[in-house]
């Protein structure tokens, strides 16, 4: 009994801790509940980047994070999924068009030299007469920073400063190209192609707006992108979803109603069928709910509509262990055992069933978690946590309260268990080994 009292206080502490966590920590709600946009991007290889390596991906992620942070929306998350995908989640923002524009631009900047023939003459396309450019010589990676400025005539320009490596490269290139044009490409499009009059050795350059000139917004955008870093590779949107905030609020309200009704039905059934033990199971169910919810907040698990469904489903399943135990205890009572023995034996014998049956569900949760994506993963995590906690509450909470409430005497009121007096002593004849008898405390 002393043991039971210790467990009682452990449970009380756990409940208090859970309530504090639930009260203090905010719930992390999924985009389908708060509303927002979710965009899945897949990196695409290009002529220059033939393979998507982990370092390409981390550069891509870094650059995209920097960009979305400039959007002024809080709590944007960028996560890598698999080898070449990024998931961007923007809560509250349902204007995906803006997001797409930001994510879609590679902001690739490069400097190219004209193609020369054997005589050192510039090669031009025979039909259009346009200069043919070589592959990029200097790229955005060689850049240290960009800033907005203006040229003597008052036009906006973007001033670039190269890093040490970039400055050397730029000096060499301009030295080679004296008297010839050099092209500046941005986003794969030629912006300007000024003639190089003398080598530029200071590690600085300027991009003018070309024929039309920059407006201040365009120049500022380019500066922001260049400073955030170019995306090493372009990416395609392969999945996209957007949920309006009204639908999200509606889903939360509906889940609440479903949860309350579901729990109420289960509790009524348990009380009606199992009587006093049913009441104890309901208490255990409340403890279960509190602990699971606290764990969700600590991990934290992002609650989605499917995740909430899993949680409500797990409530129905969490009483399973209690039902197994009570059925077993009732059998022992029918066999004429005293209360303490019946309860202990009920737990002991139900335990293998509880363990084996829950393990198989956990196995499928683990597999779902590792192979699934997004929604499925959330579901598996919620269900898995639910099952583990339900095993814990069944063996600690239910057991402790059963012993505390019923004590050790004979069963005086069989109706408390939903049994009739006539049934007692007419159960099956249990034949245990001596060791088992000793463990259950059975005296012949």
């Amino acid at each position: 009994m002393k043991n039971k009292l210790i467990w009682f206080w452990v449970i009380v502490c756990l409940v208090i801790a859970s309530v504090i966590v639930i009260y203090k920590k905010p719930t992390k709600l999924g985009l389908d509940l708060v509303g927002g946009s979710r965009i899945l991007l897949e990196a695409r290889t290009t002529d220059t980047v033939r393979e998507i390596t982990p370092s390409v991906m981390s550069n891509l992620k870094y650059a995209i994070e920097h960009r979305v942070n400039n959007m002024g929306v809080e709590e944007i998350s960028v996560a890598q999924i698999g080898d070449k995908r990024l998931l961007v989640e923007i809560p509250g923002e349902t204007d995906t068009k803006k997001a797409e524009e930001i994510l879609g631009k590679t902001a690739q900047l490069d400097f190219r030299a004209p193609k020369l023939d054997e005589n050192g003459e510039i090669v031009r396309d025979k039909t259009t007469g346009q200069i043919i450019w070589e592959q990029p010589q200097i790229t955005g990676e060689d850049l240290k920073s960009a800033s907005i400025g203006s040229d003597p005539s008052g036009e906006f320009v973007v001033s670039l400063e190269f890093n040490a490596k970039g400055a050397t490269k730029f000096a060499q290139l301009t030295q080679k190209l004296v008297g010839k044009p050099m092209a500046i490409f941005y986003e794969g499009e030629m912006r300007t192609a000024p003639n190089i009059n003398e080598p530029i050795l200071g590690g600085k350059a300027q991009i003018s707006g070309g024929d039309g000139g920059f407006d201040s917004q365009e120049a500022q955008e380019m500066v922001d992108y260049l400073n955030a870093g170019a995306l090493p590779v372009p990416s395609d949107i392969i999945e996209e979803s957007q949920v309006g905030p009204t639908l999200g609020a509606d889903s939360i309200a509906k889940s609440k109603v479903a949860g309350i009704v579901g729990v109420a039905l289960v509790m009524l059934f348990m009380l009606f069928y199992y009587r006093l033990p049913g009441l104890i199971a309901n208490l255990a169910l409340v403890v279960y709910g509190l602990i699971v919810f606290a764990i969700f907040k600590i991990v934290p698990v992002t609650l989605t509509l499917a995740g909430i469904a899993a949680f409500i489903l797990s409530i129905g399943m969490a009483v399973d262990a209690n039902i197994l135990i009570f059925e077993r205890t009732k059998e022992e009572l029918r066999a004429g055992r005293n209360l303490f023995t019946a309860i202990s034996a009920g737990f002991d014998r139900a335990w293998t069933s509880i363990f084996d049956s829950n393990m198989t569900t956990i196995i499928s949760c683990v597999i779902l978690y590792y192979l699934g994506s997004g929604v499925v993963q959330g579901f598996a995590l919620t269900l898995g946590i639910g099952i583990l906690v339900s095993m814990f509450t069944a063996i600690t909470v239910t057991r402790t309260f059963m012993h505390i409430v019923f004590g050790t005497g004979e069963l005086k009121y069989p109706a408390l268990f939903g049994l009739s007096k006539a049934e007692i002593g007419k159960g099956y004849e249990a034949t245990e080994t001596k060791r088992e008898k000793a463990r259950f405390g059975i005296l012949d």
């Binding site: 389908d32 946009s37 899945l40 995906t96 068009k97 797409e100 395609d236 949107i237 392969i238 999945e239 996209e240 979803s241 957007q242 949920v243 309006g244 009204t246 639908l247 509606d250 889903s251 309200a253 509906k254 109603v257 479903a258 949860g259 009704v261 579901g262 039905l265 289960v266 059934f269 069928y273 509509l305 499917a306 469904a309 409500i312 489903l313 129905g316 399943m317 399973d320 039902i323 197994l324 059925e327 293998t352 084996d356 049956s357 829950n358 393990m359 198989t360 569900t361 196995i363 499928s364 597999i367 779902l368 192979l371 994506s373 997004g374 499925v376 159960g427 099956y428 004849e429 245990e432």
Partner: protein
Amino acid sequence: MFNIGKNTVHVVKYRILWMCLSAVLLLPGIAAMIYSTITYPTHTPVKVGIDYTGGTILQYGTSDNVTNKQLAATREDLAKIGVENPYIQVIKGNKITKEDNGINSIVSIRTHFIKEGSELSKNISSIMSSNYKNSSLIQFTSVGATLGKELLQKSMIALALALLAMIAYISFRFKLDYAIAAILGLVHDILFVIGVFSLLGIFCNVQIDNLFMTAILTILGFSINDTIVTFDRIRENLRYYGKKMTFGEIVDASVNQTIARSVNTSLTTFLTLLALYLFGGSTTKDFVFAIMLGVVVGTYSSIFFCSMLVDFWEERKSKQKQQPQTQEA
């Protein structure tokens, strides 16, 4: 006599009955699955949604109570701007919340892959706002075609792996015979649920999504729960009464001892699912319905189908063992 409880359910005695019942449950669904696999362009046993084929779903909320005439007009207008064969659906009675969000019906349009914010999606939105009062885009989902295929593949792998892992676990904890019987029970349950959705696909145009796969895996977990509890009881009774009773008697006794538990657990799970189905969000309705089916058929299969299989198996094995002995004598 070894009194281990009165038998109210006879698994072994009415073996043929349970076999026929399972056949009646499964055959219409299997027929529907074969029909679907042959006739659908995707060659799948069920109608698959955009999660697996790729495509876009746009959902608009409106304060109108949408009529069929409006839908027909929308269909024509959409065809004009190049949205071919859209699948248009109306979801009504969305309002269960007290807050009036001004939405009386939701019009859902499913079409090929388009980008949010593209010219086409803007055109669709303007058609919607001219055809319906206070229309607003409340949900937009788009899945690329390659991603859909990959997801389907991944789901199949997950399913296969889950089954294998369960066979391994049950053989380790029980015996391979039990594992095979349990897995056959799972196949029984999954075939039933997929069969029902195949029929629903043919008659009510129900399409499965990524959540359906999750439902199937949940059913696996739930149904194996029941089966294992029954098997656990057989294992236990075998230890105590193995020498005094025939295997068939033990199976019957074990089933009768666990039936209250199996039914009660399924009932509590079913009650929570019913609440989710009646009051929960519309996106999870099909998902909840699939699990409800699975819970019911899973309870049936673990009580009758799996125990029957184990008994059938054991009987054949003991007959094979007896034969050489009689020859020697």
